[in-house]
């Protein structure tokens, strides 16, 4: 950061100059440390990608091959030709698509009420929305499984879609509400004074302004549903009906894992999430209130 020399009191100048010189050397040290921390943090991700592109003999070498010198796509072709890969990709997409669409519609209406109206019970509903997100899903999986078994919804995508609403819907309501609050009331009121109805004002003024928020929220919801593991693991038994995360976890059954194809499969599973995540990360980083995005 540029040290603001201007405006420094005269007496402070020598001290400042000294600090700057020391600062330059200090900065170099910090940068080196920063680079080392970067290498440490990114290494697992790097190792996944590097392994995915390595030949088998380089993966199972006595001394690690740090870089895929003989890059190959064979791990990827192996992974996608494994049984049920494409079926499971399709299942994941169907489930995620339905969950996102359903929760977005429901959450939109609810968030509108919470953000734009004051009414009796509003605070209670907000507490409820935050509170239900604290209930561990692993606890709810038992009753959900038994209820769905009774309703004949086990091993069906529809059962999983309903189940995923338990965590995606409250979260979506809360996030969308945050985005709607950001729209200044004056804009809506101006439109109303101009003679349009509340609904007209809403469509013409509010909707375009929260468009980016809607996109970001759908991506949050997408990531959460795409990454989910335990519900799908319990509810979907047939291999051709599972989701991609369950497919990936079933790679590691016992000793002698096919690490190359597994890392290729892991890379493919992570890819859409990483792309979407990078696209909207600014909104996540600064929306503390929307902080509940961690797999």
């Amino acid at each position: 950061m540029s040290s603001p020399l201007a405006g420094a009191p005269l007496a402070g100048v020598p001290a400042r100059a000294r600090r700057r010189r020391g600062g330059r050397r200090g900065r170099l040290g910090w940068n080196a440390l920063g680079l080392a921390v970067f290498a440490l943090i990114i290494f697992p991700v790097y190792w996944m990608i590097a392994t995915a592109f390595k030949r088998g003999s380089d993966i199972f070498a006595d001394t690690p091959v740090w870089f895929p010198i003989h890059p190959t796509l064979s791990n990827f072709t192996d992974a996608i030709h494994r049984p049920h890969f494409w079926a499971d990709v399709k299942n994941s997409l169907i489930i995620v698509g339905c969950v996102v669409a359903l929760s977005l519609v429901l959450a939109f209406l609810a968030a509108l009420a919470l953000a734009k109206f004051r009414f009796y019970g509003r605070k209670a509903f907000i507490v409820l929305i935050i509170g239900v997100q604290m209930i561990p899903l692993n606890a709810l999986i038992i009753p959900i499984y038994l209820v769905l078994a009774k309703a004949n919804q086990v091993d069906k995508l529809s059962g999983v879609i309903i189940t995923y609403l338990t965590f995606v819907l409250p979260f979506t309501v809360w996030t969308l509400r945050g985005f709607m609050i950001g729209v200044p009331r004056e804009l809506e009121e101006a439109a109303q004074v101009d003679g349009s109805t509340r609904f007209g004002a809403f469509v013409r003024v509010l909707l375009p302004l929260i468009g980016p928020g809607l996109v970001a929220t759908s991506i949050f919801a997408f990531i959460q549903a795409w990454n989910e593991f335990i519900m799908a693991y319990v509810l979907l038994h047939s291999p051709e009906k599972q989701t991609l995360t369950v497919w990936l976890a079933s790679f590691t059954t016992n000793r002698g894992t096919a690490w190359g194809p597994l890392m290729a499969g892991a890379t493919l599973t992570a890819l859409p999430v990483v792309i979407f995540f990078v696209a909207i990360q600014r909104k996540i980083a600064f929306g503390l209130t929307a902080g509940a995005v961690r797999g």
Partner: protein, 321 residues
């Protein structure tokens, strides 16, 4: 909620229009928020409320394979609770879950703070690089992360064993990290902390950039060292952020399941039980759904106690908006 008197509702926009509106129209506007909330509230009641109620009921029932076929449990009062409270494994698992949560949260917060402070010290290029690295780690799905770590600590060709041996930290050839539960848990905690650091770091860094440089520089001129200026200026200013980060981390780490389950290939030994795993095994492996529900309910109760602080803070933020 929607049955409560709608007359009490005061639409926000009222002051902007001075003339009185017809009664029917006012009533319609008062009812509007309830109508908007109804669909979401109904779905949440169905997919969350009902299972929660059913979980409570199950915990007072004997629900085994026979009952699973008949879709009907047998009421047995508090016998499930009596059984788990007299089960030494249960208390072991509760204590282990608490210790595990404590280890994960404290490591995440301390390391996250250190990396966030480092971000304020490095040059713009390194900062960009480091932030990008953090975001990639943050975006990595949990199941993928577990597979990567499993591969890194593989007993035969894992890069961890090779590196530690090469650094002369001991002979790690064919070292099985999960043979000893302590080293196994060390791997699991590292994996979780690694995945959790980005969120904490990036949030804290955003907070740190809000702390005025004038304050810290004034403190430096007054002779305060970096530690004092962090403790007496930065920390109090960031306290609200820390409250949220710590409570969220506790909530997340207390219910960890996937990481342990997948890294132990879906059949962890009792040394690797957390409360979530114990409840799962009792229900889905041993088919004692009633017992599993009782364990799960104890877990929910502990969670809600912990979350109280967090919820209060969030509601406060929600009100301020």
């Amino acid at each position: 909620m929607s049955s409560r008197s709608p007359a009490a509702a005061a639409p926000l926009a009222a002051p902007s229009v001075s003339r009185r509106r017809p009664l029917g129209r006012r009533l319609r506007r008062a009812a509007a928020p309830y109508a908007l909330l109804l669909p979401a509230a109904a779905v949440i009641a169905a997919v969350l409320g009902y299972p929660l109620y059913y979980l409570v009921r199950l915990s007072f029932q004997h629900y085994g394979l026979f009952q699973l076929v008949r879709h009907k449990g047998e009421s047995i009062g508090t016998a499930n609770y009596a059984e788990i409270f007299h089960d030494s494994l249960f208390w072991h698992v509760v204590l282990r879950t608490i210790a595990f949560t404590f280890a994960c949260v404290s490591l995440t917060i301390v390391l996250g703070t250190l990396v966030a402070l480092l971000l304020t010290k490095v040059g713009p290029f390194i900062r960009l690089l480091l932030t990008a690295g953090l975001i990639f780690v943050w975006a990595t799905p949990v199941v993928v992360a577990v597979d990567i770590w499993q591969w890194m600590v593989d007993y035969e060709f894992g890069v961890a064993n090779w590196t530690l041996t090469a650094l002369h930290l001991g002979d790690f050839n064919h070292h099985d990290w999960f043979a000893n539960p302590w080293s196994g848990w060390a791997v699991i905690v590292s994996l979780i902390v690694w995945g959790a650091i980005p969120f904490v770091t990036i949030t804290l860094y955003a907070g740190l950039t809000q702390v005025s440089r004038d304050l810290t520089e004034a403190a430096a001129i007054d002779g305060a060292g970096p530690w004092r200026s962090f403790r007496d200026i930065t920390l109090p200013l960031l306290k609200p952020i820390y409250v949220i980060l710590i409570s969220l981390s506790i909530i997340w780490d207390f219910q960890v399941f996937n990481q342990v389950w997948i890294i132990r290939n879906g059949s962890p030994s009792t040394d690797y039980y957390l409360m979530s795993i114990y409840a799962y095994v009792e229900s889905f492996k041993i088919s004692e759904y009633g017992l599993g529900s009782a364990i799960a309910l104890v877990m929910v109760a502990i969670m809600l106690l912990i979350s109280f602080v967090y919820i209060r803070q969030m509601v406060r933020i929600g009100d301020a908006e």
